[in-house]
């Protein structure tokens, strides 16, 4: 809300505060200001008279003017405006003047001619072009005859005003009016507000003979119509135009301007109909679905049955609260005007305006209006039309009123106020706040009965009054305390700490944490999963690539990798723990997922030619470590299985705990990424479903172990994991460790075979093993491997 300072001054004494002081004071009671903008910041101006104007001898567009800048004082000014002419009253900036944008006016010589100032256009004074007439945009501004030579032109034009732009909170609809602002400033400065006059000089005839109002919908609790006949449409007086400009509204003509002025003043949007096209019957009803109406901006609108319309007997004439219809618009030859002042359902106005157009009017309807002000505004408009448009005000008002205008009466105790605010205010201090706000109070024992005027549509409950006391009195003196509690420490949710542990473990392995967006595109939605799931799609996406809630984190991590790779960051190790989302039996599911991505080299030392390239087994090692850290040693399995098509078909695996698949891992398919990139994704919701076993001490054997090596040739497809299972089963409890120390294909071995060499450790925690008993087990293992896996013993 742009508040004109001069407009405000009409209704409340502002103690000659500077604009900054006033804005700060308003901010301290909750009405934050965004900016303070004078209509014009130009200095050292005067009204001049062009006594003579001749073309510049050395220019085809400049003029040399003799300008009277003070009674009897004439000076020469070179002017480049095409519309400058002898006999004009003009705005002159004198040497020393500073114009908006910091331009300083100096005495100068322009192509050999002395120039002692500048004749100004409105643009040069800093007036926005939307407020300028077509004439003004082309050159200098020409003042009317009555402008006095030597006077200050900004004051003459009413441009000696400043607008303070407030960012109001959505509950304070009452402040969308100069009157509302005046009450607020009055409360701060302890000043009474003087309301504008609604005294109409003369009223004739009766509204009944002209128009009737018939409200057919419950969404219009209050509708008032008055009539002013025989108006003269002309330019508005200067002060009125300036007020509108300082409030951010473009002046049009006196009638339209009055409608806007009264809205700014009272907060009540008005609509003026041309009686010729409106007719004698006003009907307020819901639009028919599909009904058409061409609005003032010359656009045909298709309405819905949620829109409220104003209609005559034949058709809709206005979209209530949003915009008038072209068919009943006030035109230059309009004589008789019907004024609408009404209250419509905020919810409906909001829906309609969101769909069609948000305007100053709709904004006010949405935030709620005071019915008293609705009555006030219609009379105020009549008065101004009488005064400024020579209109004949018709007596009476056509009324539909379902509102029961009443002031809110709220009872509250001093104790309650102090308890909530943590203050120790006396009853007098509290009553003073209400007095300043122009609320009346009545003492009832310990309690105060506070009557809140209907203009404060935001106040309904005791807490609202507490807020007012806090606002107006201020809480700077409140001494901060800490809430009294049990003294017990707070706690995290159970899985939260597990997540953190996983994150830290992966960080130790070099994986940095990233945060990526939850929303994804249709294309990425189904990547890196083979699940058949029901996705969650936004009703109203802003962008195509942020339309669905993701089902895998890997596409997001891959995007991060691509971004970094393209910037020559080639060693990438990242992780994220976030939710994935889907529907199951109509229910939204959010599951916590861990994903990682690795590429490049680790532990690099270039000059030593050292470094480890990230590969499948490196990533597998990280996953195994994390699962071991979580207590799943001997329970997790990484094995060949069906994975999403975005993985390399032969360098990928599924991850299981016991028999349940919890994730997958592998290289990204080379057709997607030329750079070898390895990724994994684990469903933590599944992992957290298992309880983590507690740590128990394990005795370290005092007895020596015996080690045996053995190598076999196997078919290429034989899984190491299965061989290890066989060996372990055959070796029994005395076989405490198996490691693979060589895998080989090539010379000295049959084609289509691979050799795998194992190192076996045998140990008994209670005694020393003999070579004989170990050999017995060892031979049993060899036999089993030969049987089960067709292993051909190569070496032992």
């Amino acid at each position: 809300m742009k508040l004109s300072r001069k407009f405000l001054e009409e209704y409340v004494n502002t103690h000659k505060l500077s604009n900054e002081e006033l804005a700060e004071k308003m901010t301290s009671v909750g009405n934050e200001y965004a900016s303070i903008d004078p209509l014009s910041s130009a200095t050292n101006l005067t009204i001049g008279y062009v006594k003579s104007c001749i073309p510049h001898p050395d220019s085809d567009h400049l003029h040399v003017c003799e300008v009277e800048i003070k009674k009897g004082e004439v000076t020469q000014i070179v002017c480049g405006a095409p519309n400058v002419a002898e006999g004009q009253k003009v705005i002159v900036s004198l040497p020393g003047a500073i114009l908006p944008g910091g331009i300083e006016i100096k005495k100068s010589v322009i192509r050999g001619q002395e120039s002692n100032g500048m004749i100004c256009s409105l643009g040069e004074l800093g007036i926005e072009s939307k407020y300028q007439s077509e004439e003004d945009k082309k050159g200098i501004h020409i003042l009317p005859e009555d402008a006095e030579i030597g006077e200050e032109p900004l004051a003459y034009l009413g441009f000696d005003d400043t607008s303070i732009d407030f960012e109001l909170t959505s509950n304070r609809g009452d402040l969308l009016s100069v009157m509302g602002m005046a009450y607020e400033v009055g409360a701060i400065l302890n000043e009474k507000v003087k309301e504008p006059s609604i005294a109409i000089t003369k009223e004739t005839e009766n509204i009944k003979d002209y128009v009737t109002v018939d409200v057919e919908t419950e969404n219009c609790p209050l509708y008032l119509a008055r009539m002013v006949k025989n108006v003269t449409i002309k330019e508005s007086p200067r002060w009125l135009k300036a007020r509108l400009m300082a409030s951010g509204i473009r002046p049009i003509n006196n009638v339209v301007d009055i409608s806007n002025y009264v809205m700014l003043e009272t907060g009540q949007p008005l609509h003026f109909f041309d009686y010729r096209t409106l007719g004698n019957k006003i009907i307020v009803r819901m639009a028919d679905e599909g009904e058409k109406l061409t609005t003032l901006d010359n656009q045909e609108r298709t309405l819905s049955d949620k829109d409220i319309v104003i209609a005559n007997q034949d058709h809709a004439v206005a979209l209530a609260g949003v915009m008038g219809g072209l068919n009943s618009e006030v035109e230059n030859d309009t004589k008789d005007i019907v004024i609408e002042s009404a209250i419509f359902s905020p919810v409906h106005i909001r829906l309609t305006s969101k769909r069609i157009l948000r305007s100053e009017a709709s904004n006010r309807f949405e935030k709620g209006l005071d019915p008293r002000r609705t009555y006030f505004a219609v009379d105020r408009a009549c008065k101004l039309l009488e005064e400024l448009a020579d209109g004949k005000v018709i007596a009476g008002c056509a009324i539909h009123d379902e509102t029961k205008i009443k002031d809110e009466v709220i009872t509250i105790t001093v104790d309650k106020i102090n308890k909530v605010l943590g203050m120790n205010l006396s009853k007098e201090e509290i009553v003073d706040v209400f007095n300043r706000l122009d609320f009346t109070t009545e003492e009832e024992g310990n309690a105060l009965k506070v009557t809140v005027p209907s203009r404060r549509i935001d106040i309904h409950i005791p807490e609202d009054l507490i807020e007012e006391v806090g606002r107006i009195h201020g809480i700077d003196n409140v001494q901060g305390t800490l809430p009294i509690g049990t003294g017990l420490p707070g706690k995290y949710e159970k899985n939260y700490l597990k997540e953190k542990a996983i994150r830290n473990r992966l960080m130790a392995h070099g994986l940095s944490q990233v945060w990526t967006y939850s929303l994804t595109s249709k294309e990425h939605l189904h990547e890196f999963t083979k699940d058949d799931f029901t996705s969650i799609e936004l009703l109203d996406p802003m962008l195509e690539d942020k339309k669905y809630l993701r089902y895998s984190l890997i596409p997001s991590l891959y995007q991060v990798a691509e971004y970094n790779l393209s910037r020559k960051v080639e060693d990438i190790r990242i992780q994220e723990i976030s939710n994935i989302y889907y529907l199951e039996d109509g229910e939204v599911k959010e599951k916590k997922v861990l994903a990682g991505l690795l590429t490049g080299e680790v532990n690099t030392n270039l000059w030593l030619h050292q470094g480890t390239k990230v590969d499948f087994y490196y990533v597998k090692g990280i996953i195994e470590d994390v699962l071991t850290y979580l207590g799943f040693q001997n329970r997790f399995h990484i094995e060949v299985g069906e994975v999403a098509k975005e993985y390399h078909p032969y360098q990928s695996a599924i991850i299981k705990i016991d028999q349940e698949q919890i994730g997958s891992m592998g290289m990204i398919h080379p057709s997607i990424s030329k750079t070898p990139i390895y990724v994994f994704e684990i469903n933590l919701s599944k992992v957290f479903a298992y309880s983590i076993r507690s740590i128990k001490d394990r005795e370290i054997s005092k007895y020596p172990s015996i080690k045996k090596d053995v190598a076999f040739a196997f078919d290429l497809d034989t899984s190491a994991k299965e061989i290890l299972n066989t060996i372990q089963k055959a070796g029994g409890r005395l076989l405490t460790e198996i490691s693979i120390f060589d895998v080989y294909q090539g010379e000295n071995i049959e084609k289509d075979k691979k050799s795998i060499a194992f190192n076996l450790t045998f140990m008994d925690p209670t005694r020393t093993l003999t070579e004989d008993e170990v050999m017995e087990i060892f031979n049993k293992i060899i036999k089993k491997v030969e049987e089960v896996h067709s292993g051909i013993l190569r070496d032992k």
Binding site: S28, K419, G422, P483
Partner: protein, 348 residues
Amino acid sequence: MKEEIKKIEEALEKDLKEVKNKNEANDLRVKYLGKKGFVTDLTKDMGSLSVDEKKELGKLANELKGKVTDKINGLISEMDRKELEERLKKDKIDPTLPATNLKVGGVHPLTKITEEVEELFISMGYDVVSGPEVEDDLHNFQLLNVPKNHPARDAQDTFYITDELLLRSQTSPVQARTMLKMKDKGPLRIICPGKVYRRDDDDATHSHQFNQIEGLVVGENISLADLKGTLEVFAKKMFGEDRKVRFRPSFFPFTEPSYEVDVSCFKCGGEGCNICKGTGWIEILGSGMVHPNVLRDCGYDPEIYTGFAFGLGIERVAMLRYGITDIRDFYTNDLRFLKNYNRMEGDK
């Protein structure tokens, strides 16, 4: 006798000087101390001597033996020392050559801030609670005193999935859910961190996805003074001991009264700079006393209970703390950006 000893000593000195390596030094041991060595020879003819003479000679011979042994050993250990020195010299490296690149991953700056806030409030007895990101209109708005089509909804343009389902635009629904879940409806204090979503175009200061932490305390005698005290502790912990807080009245539908909270600028200390835009104050969070409608709708009797709530944006705090100027940096994850945060926090 003494002369012979002297001779031996002189011979030894000479021999020692001529020794070239450890083998030669060991040979001297044989030459002097061996069965036929010079020192052994001295005592060869002891049979003809008197007891006293034997004693005397034995003593001298032993002294000589000790001396010779020390000298030879001294020479050998000196040679060992030199040899080791030579070997170590060969091991010499240039410690200024680049190290092996060992990288431990780092936490994201948003996590750093989130955890710092969580740890502070945990220590003050708050539980950390989370809730669903896909919310319903009821919990995200209606239970928080924002009915359908309320103008306050404009401030949080929301992503809808159906007419009733949405991406939460704030973490406040977790507060509503927690209050509703509390069986005894007794006092509670929680903080709720999490992702939230709003229909904003991404630019340097807006992000369609960001993070909030909200706090809620409900009890029988909770006052605005408690809110003020709590946020003072928070401001000092997050931005430094010298910080002051300022409450500006504002409006949020779920609190009454409502306040925006500013902290005195930690860069200029309140004198005015580019961070605080010359005001000396930086807006960091919204807060207020829980609206009685919210308490009532979530099962708490507002006649008995009062409460306070506050909420802040993690991104905003991180941007202020570290001087980050583009909110999109958090989600781009340029590893060069993240690397800068892979360290502990500085002193405040």
